[in-house]
Symmetry: C2
Amino acid sequence: MPAISDVARLAGVSKATASRALSGRGHVAEQTRLRVVQAASEIGYIASPDAASLVTGRTKNVGVVIPFVNSWFFGEMLEGIERALLGAGYDLTLYNLPEGGPARARVFDFFLARKRVDAVIVIAVDLTEGEVRGLERREKPIVCVGGSGDATARLSIDDRAVGLLATEHLLHLGHTRIAHLAGAGAGLQPNSMAGLRAAGFRDAVAAADADRMDPAARVAGGAPRGSATELGPIDAIVIETEMGMPGGFEAGLQLLGHPAHRPTAVFAATDETAFGVIRAAERLGLSVPRDLSVIGVDDHEHAALFDLTTIAQAPAEQGRLAVEVALRMLGDDARADPLPDSGAPLATRLVVRGSTARATA
Amino acid sequence: MPAISDVARLAGVSKATASRALSGRGHVAEQTRLRVVQAASEIGYIASPDAASLVTGRTKNVGVVIPFVNSWFFGEMLEGIERALLGAGYDLTLYNLPEGGPARARVFDFFLARKRVDAVIVIAVDLTEGEVRGLERREKPIVCVGGSGDATARLSIDDRAVGLLATEHLLHLGHTRIAHLAGAGAGLQPNSMAGLRAAGFRDAVAAADADRMDPAARVAGGAPRGSATELGPIDAIVIETEMGMPGGFEAGLQLLGHPAHRPTAVFAATDETAFGVIRAAERLGLSVPRDLSVIGVDDHEHAALFDLTTIAQAPAEQGRLAVEVALRMLGDDARADPLPDSGAPLATRLVVRGSTARATA
DNA sequence: TTGAAAGCGATACCAC
DNA sequence: GTGGTATCGCTTTCAA
């Protein structure tokens, strides 16, 4: 395996010059540069990243911590990250974090603590204070995407706004008996994705209730409301379930099983949940959107197939953005792009398809 | 950031001894070993993998080349690989290969050619001869999972047998009008996954045809058959489509749209394709399995939800196995396990659920 | 069993 | 511009 000294010898220059010529750092006469490059390709020289890292302290490698890979959303985001990293000449080292067991500690205390990655991108994982400190002590920039907790840089959509928007869409269509299929844990963790989307749902319902009241009373003190799942004039209910298709299916069967209390519209916390609901509705002989309107979140690759109205987010693009921020924190960014509005939530947009329709009188 | 010299000084030994004590290589008095370990943890010492790699030539890092991440199957396999690698103290560097453009060459000629990975696991990618040679020249073991082409080690299910088994299941249930939703390219690439499963389908149909003939004629020359899509007594048809849910849906609508030629059973090349078919059937008012039996391949996480009969394979387990083989090729395997039957196909099994039933007379 | 010293393969500082 | 040289942090002979 050829080393830089071989290149240097062949080109008739010193190692130092060869290094400069190949790395582009420092000035080298164009003529010698050509000779060196020529010599390098002649013997198939490729610099050893280890040796370079050792002296520069940079590895050109970014660690990515992610809870799952086997779902469309995370997979898509991972692809976005990978593409961006590869394009910038960086490697991506994957840490697929299992459920917080001893393996998690090992990842943070050993794998990420070593000098093998320049920065860490953390997807949908709530870092403990200790984990953050550990990385900061080693001066590794952290970019979080989704999740909560206070870390350095965080990219996130506004989940509360998403819940609000989705619910408003249903309300605007005239639905007054609506349900929200929230993610498991929405109640216990108000700041989780599930909790925030559910909060947005409740906000929208409360606002609608207020609109239905005497404007005077509205000014006086907002909408009176009952329990968290009974919000006055609008018949709203929140059901927690796993946010996958099976979760949506089961919750859907349960929710739609009794004709008496059946809602006319459902806001599912994710598209996959929505797919499950749609299947449940079909199974029960209900027609979407005639008997039931359904809206989800994500704009999953199969959303079009289910003709699902949804709040779109672009995971791959979010991944790309995370890389951009990370590289910028490393001061490695050659591009002159302005900073993305730091702290501003990531873009989402309502995509109206055929699964939502006006409430029938 | 503490270096090994700091540990050595604190423990009152030389760098050499400290290294031996911490790495476990070479003999060190138990007492001094304890002192060193103690000193190391005291100052939070973690060895620099770069420095170690530089001298040992080993990186404790494996590269994984994979075409997609955003699908359940590949994601699951990636998780299996990651878990196994992490457990063995290895890092996983991900190369999400895009569609064979210039990026592909860059991955093989630059990223993988450097001394950054000890071995490469290649998922469902057909390596060119040049790519294989390039890695071999650098003495990097290659383990392929799925895909075709001749590489060093290859783990793969027997796709032809899978096609055979799935089709036989339908035939045994008495179906005589059956269709195969093959993956795109099945016809053009007979050795691809799609091509092999389709071949298995044809084999099963041919065998069934033979059984329906006079035994004498059968000995004489096998089943006479028409075109590739018209296989005699058994009414069999092969349709190529994208192997996802949308592909299955579209093909399903087309296939099941005309009541006259409607098959009573479908063998879908993958579970996702099968999901699409099931939805198409439901959309057309057909009941599964009463009007249509459907069988898929994979045992996708949603297969149970669709009550889908399928040929199960275990991608995560396959990933784990790939790692085992790779580490063994690196001579790094501490376990005394016997070699897995080298070259033997990976396990698959028929999982019968409710989507397949006897053909109605 | 332990220590001294020679690299591994690059970069970067400092003269020239 | 270019060439020596120290250096990054570790492992590994070779002696003691």
